[in-house]
Symmetry: C2
């Protein structure tokens, strides 16, 4: 239902629009200075002039959060998480008041709300709380009075009245949660790019902005480091079927719609290619082939805050096996050190490692109904003589680890092979 | 009761103290940097180590408020008062979190509260709200758990959940209101001076710190620009009989106790001398001697935000009269302009004015029972050939307007004449 309305609006530009409720989210860069806040006010006013009710969610201005963190670090290296939340939430509170003043200055009625005033109730975990309930009473009362409501992103409050924050990408989550609770027609995530691309346009000149993408695909891309939207926000949007649009706060053009089943570009099997450099592969050889081995080795690494990505296990004999896994190169040295420290417990023969690798992944929900996509990918890479060091697959993703020197070539070739460079004809 | 306890403690330094609840307030200068916040933490810890429960009230760091105001002014010259409150209250919120972290760092349990978390309920007036009710439930629950409670000064919340500020000197008022609501043993106002002086030590070298002063005297001195304590806070303290002590955040010495009836120094008729330069006198001559004249002239000035201090009216004939009043010299030009603009309505003959004046006031509750104090003052000034241009009196104050060039001489002579330079022997 929302989806149909949305499509209509995207297609009927310039025509009269239905009155609806829109949630707009602007990140730290978009509100990084007084001038930018004034520009954001113009974008908000534009949506109001289109006949919509508007709720705006904003982050802290530019580097404010970093500055507050270093202030805390001058006092203590281990600040209490409750007090960090108290400190950091001043950042968005500054932005909401300044943006509201800018809206007043343009002659529009507007009112600002902190997280607790906006009814963003969270669990009692500081620094990374999940939203439990949104009480929209105050927001709705202000909307009814014809006001624009400006809400501080990233922050909430516990039942006991303690201020919490939602962790990284928290403002996206605030926006999506509000859109869900207010049954908004859509949620626009304004950012410093114009949308979600088939791959990173900074590396691949033929990278093309997608008109639409599914929640699941966006989740895979977000997790793969595309970085436009926080995975938790995408998950929230999927659970509550909130139609998102990722769009530019500077350029006035359509962005990328994130929704359950993109109707446009549906013939695309692969929707995007993500890639990441500075990957290392670690191989632990001569491990005892026992039930507990896998669990022991990765629990040890996790305890040392080492994030492991792709894992491959292969038995070398009936009582011995090897495990290979990928880590970020910045974690390599510590990974090896941790393994060596635990040599006696883990009972392995040797640790080998290789750096200068990269991860290249293709993502697309069309893979589910199109077997052989992974095979196609391997064939393309083989033709280009690119050695595949590791492979990992999910229902809608195939990831490969390749030499770093072949990363861009791999992406370019796959981009052409899966026809991501071709602009499709849409309704 | 409070008073007796307080005296005992002041006199029995170094001896074991009763366990009690103390409210400490530190202003913007005292928390102006990370180093100063750490120093404040030491002062708080000292009070805890003395066996007291402690609630700390803090202002925004140094110039933070000014910076936030100029940020708002970049956006609009007339910011909404609600949004200014939203913006400015981030200042104290930063300080409470940083001070709490500093207390943790020293190994003490502490928790921070914003105004709304601390239960500071105010009327619905932004920028200058009065406290209506303090719900101390949260604070008391934390104190019971053995924690130091750090509260944001200057801020409150309305019944509807809007953030308000208490106006100038608001943090003093927060501290006093909390002390009253929590039935604290005393409220220490830490500042950048060591106490309340008989007169301004920057001008008069014999100025002496008072050991005690009454609420009423402090009110007169505060209103006369002594500036150590905000009048509203003193009024609040008087109404709820909260024993205050004004003391230095840097020096570790006793300050000045503000209480109902100072027992020490009770033989002093005059407790202090306040003075202020940049005063102008305006005389409006040839006004019609009618009932409405006074009201019309001062309503007109008030509408133009001109603050009038001393007012003298004298009839020059049965149907004509003159009015003289004092204003700050910075307001003189506008005062004359406003009068001239309203010449037809006010029906006066001419406006005369004189600048380069100063106001010198003696304050002391002993005046009530000692008639002739004003006469003594005039005699002292006459002996020094200081011309008195205007006079105004209250029960515990005599103010004179004198030439600016005689200001310091007047204060010096009065300081000696009323024996303010003499250290009195106390119990």
């Amino acid at each position: 239902m929302f989806y149909i309305l949305l499509q209509m609006k995207n297609n009927k530009k310039g025509m009269s629009r239905d009155m609806g409720l829109v949630v707009q989210k602007f990140g730290g860069t978009s509100v990084g200075s007084v001038e930018r806040i004034q520009h954001v006010a113009s974008r908000v006013v534009q949506e109001v002039e289109n006949g919509n009710e508007v709720v705006v969610v904003v982050s802290a201005m530019g580097k404010t959060t970093d500055q507050l963190v270093s202030l805390a670090n001058e006092i203590t290296t281990q600040p209490s998480k409750r007090e960090m939340d108290m400190l950091l939430t001043t950042g968005e509170q500054m932005t909401i008041s300044l943006l509201t003043m800018a809206l007043h200055q343009k002659g529009y009625e507007a009112v600002s709300f902190t997280g607790w005033q906006a009814g963003m109730q969270t669990e009692s975990i500081h620094g990374n709380a999940r939203i439990q309930h949104v009480d929209t009473t105050h927001i709705q009362s202000q909307l009814k009075q014809g006001k624009i409501v400006v809400v501080a992103g990233f922050q909430g409050v516990t039942k006991d009245g303690n201020i919490t924050t939602l962790g990284r990408g928290g403002s996206d989550t605030t926006a999506v949660a509000l859109a869900a609770a207010l049954k908004a027609e859509k949620c626009d995530i304004y950012t410093d790019v114009t949308g979600v691309f088939t791959t990173d346009p900074r590396y691949i000149k033929d990278a093309r902005k997608l008109q639409a993408i599914s929640y699941d695909e966006m989740l895979e891309l977000a997790n793969l480091g595309a970085g436009v939207l926080h995975p938790r926000a995408v998950e929230f949007a999927k659970n509550y079927q909130v139609p998102l649009e990722v769009r530019s706060s500077l350029e006035n053009e359509n962005g990328t719609v994130v929704e359950e089943e993109p109707s446009m570009e549906q013939n695309l099997v692969v929707r995007g290619i993500a890639f990441e450099d500075n990957i290392s592969r670690v191989t632990v050889a001569g491990l005892r082939n026992q039930l507990q081995t896998l669990s022991t080795i990765f629990t040890t690494l996790a305890k040392n805050n080492i994030n492991v990505d792709i894992i491959i296990q292969h038995a070398t004999s009936s009582d011995r096996m090897s495990i290979s896994f990928s880590v970020k190169t910045e974690d390599l040295q510590e990974t090896v050190a941790v393994l060596e420290q635990n040599r006696e417990i883990l009972e392995f023969e040797k640790v080998e490692h290789e750096s200068q690798l990269a991860k290249v992944s293709i993502v697309g929900s069309g893979m589910i109904s199109n077997p052989g996509v992974a095979a196609d990918m391997f064939e393309v890479l083989a033709q280009e003589k690119i050695e595949v060091k590791m492979v990992s697959t999910s229902e809608i993703k195939v990831s490969t680890v390749v030499p770093y020197t072949d990363m861009v070539k791999a992406v370019e070739t796959l981009h052409v092979a899966f026809e991501l460079d071709k602009q499709l004809v849409t309704a």
